[in-house]
Amino acid sequence: MQYKSQAVAKPYFIAAIGLFVGQILFGLIMGLQYVMGDFLFPAIPFNVARMVHTNLLIVWLLFGFMGAAYYIIPEETESELFSPKLAWLMFWIFLVAGALTIVGYLLVPYAGLAKMTFNDLWPTMGREFLEQPLPTKLGIVVVALAFLFNITLTILKGRKTSISLVLLMGLWGLAVFFLFSFYNPSNLVMDKYFWWWTVHLWVEGVWELILGSLLAFVLIKVTGVDREVIEKWLYMIIAMTLITGIIGTGHHYYWIGTPEYWQWFGSVFSALEPIPFFMMTVFAFNMVNRRRREHPNKAATLWALGTGVMAFLGAGVWGFLHTLAPVNFYTHGTQITAAHGHIAFYGAYVMVVLAIISYAMPVLRGRAANSEKSQVVEMWSFWLMTVAIVFITLFLTAAGILQVWLQRISATPLGFMAAQDQITLFYWLREISGVIFLIGLIVYITSFFVGGETKEAA
């Protein structure tokens, strides 16, 4: 590693992977509850398992993004972090706050948790993905501000590159749009309207900037292609992301009580949202094909290419599938959405974080790349997890199509639960795929402990 302070990225990456395991375990619990409704009831009700599953995902990705920033920024700015101590302090605060929140979800009934954490003073809880108690939300803001302070000052005193500026823009956007989680108007339409400013403008806006810059960084490192070329691509991708993604928010405004024109705005702009993802795929393959060096870390290259392909499939294709208003009229809130959610999050954000971890972790451990043996194990985990998520997605898509048909299109429509009973086969198949995913994740973690001959860091 070139800069001493980059070392602070390591605990962030380790915590991210640890929480990732938790996320998958709760996913499996919930997947089983789909077909065995009283599994672990009343200890872990479905709604709690779901909350833990989604919240852990967000938190571990945030750990991943922060670790990535702490790793990338010193190298890009060619200077040590402004304050590695602050980064360490924030790591522990974030980890403890996150753990306490999850323990709270699991041990205290949600309404009781709300009361304990002063939700009546400033009601922000009870909304999907933003369920965190007020102290946790405030903690996230403090951690984010300290983190941004640290990163911004490092960039200000060092070399300014497009990658670090785009990353910084994405991270600031992440913090700014999180503030809408504190705004909870009593008008349900307005509530939902601004709720999406956090949820959508994160994953289909500013997070894509983070995604683009992480991918660009890894590609520069493993391919040795000119920075100038990679930066041009990065700019085109983020321009398209913002052009399509910001107004594309409209695809969430079809049926929540907003004016009708959102059906047009949402359809037109979100239909174009696959373009930046397609550009990312072309970008990744193009750069690897034009590579000017053979980097010993083949696994990182694989993750980077995988990000391009799976993000396009998951966010692009599976998003487009149900983004047009006339289609969404039927598919809204069905398993089609769940299918898209799984493959998009995996393809775009999980994979890019694993790509940067794959590239950075060996360097942080004092070598250019892991041993051949370790990389083979890691690549196995890549294929296990990726194929498993593809199958989860296909089974959920099949479940969704059936659900739409049985519940909303057929001449004799079934009620929600009756329709669910008809598609249990697909939920079982999804659960099996989920187990394969967990196996893949275990293999992934194992790869860190596989020894063998390694090359010294350059």
């Binding site: 085109m236 321009a239 047009w264 037109v268 702009f269 174009l272």
Partner: protein
């Protein structure tokens, strides 16, 4: 505009002028407008009477004036490219200033038009036709502004003598984008204001 003696190209024959990246961008922009135009046509087919009736209330004169204004500004941009190919940086910058000025005239005319519509109480929710009229023209309006910003950046660099007959990709890049903005209006104006 260009004399036969001018054969200098910064780009390889067979590739588009300017930076390749701008062409990806132009392609994406045209796709966005294209999808919007397609939606307009699709929607009109379902509400022909409403569209025809609402269309009569648009100000075709200001639309036509603006078409002429943009086409003229595109001509200026062509002159700017021709000038830099002969190494006349100052002339190039002046032609670009003219193009930016005409872009400004377009914006002013458009603002008068918008003002009249908003004063009449027309909004995105008035009806489907006005939804398209307002969103398409406002969307295009913002592209004119972006185009002017790009041309201004090119103009400043040209004024500093930053381009040469051998290397003026930047001028061609800005020119290509500006022609796209012009082209979209050339389609938008008849489609929304005139054809019935």
């Amino acid at each position: 505009m260009s004399t036969p003696s001018i054969t200098l190209h910064t780009h390889q024959p067979g590739t588009p002028p300017g930076d390749l990246a701008i062409w990806l961008f132009i392609f994406a922009e045209l796709l966005a407008f294209g999808v919007f135009f397609g939606s307009f046509a699709f929607s009109r087919a379902h509400h022909v009477a409403l569209f025809n009736q609402s269309q009569l209330l648009l100000n075709r004169e200001s639309g036509a004036i603006n078409a002429l204004v943009l086409i003229t500004s595109s001509y200026f941009v062509v002159r700017a490219v021709a000038a830099i190919k002969q190494g006349f940086s100052r002339e190039c910058a002046n032609w670009l200033a003219g193009a930016i000025g005409f872009g400004g005239i377009f914006l002013v005319v458009k603002l008068f038009e918008f003002h009249a519509k908003f004063a009449a109480g027309i909004s995105l929710s008035t009806n489907t036709f006005y939804m398209f009229y307002l969103s398409l023209t406002i969307f295009h309006f913002m592209h004119v502004i972006l185009g002017m910003v790009i041309l201004a950046a090119v103009m400043l660099k040209a004024r500093r003598g930053g381009y040469t007959p051998e290397n003026h990709t930047g001028v061609e890049t800005g020119a290509s984008y500006w022609h796209m903005v012009d082209l979209v209006w050339i389609i938008l104006f008849p489609l929304v204001y005139v054809i019935r």
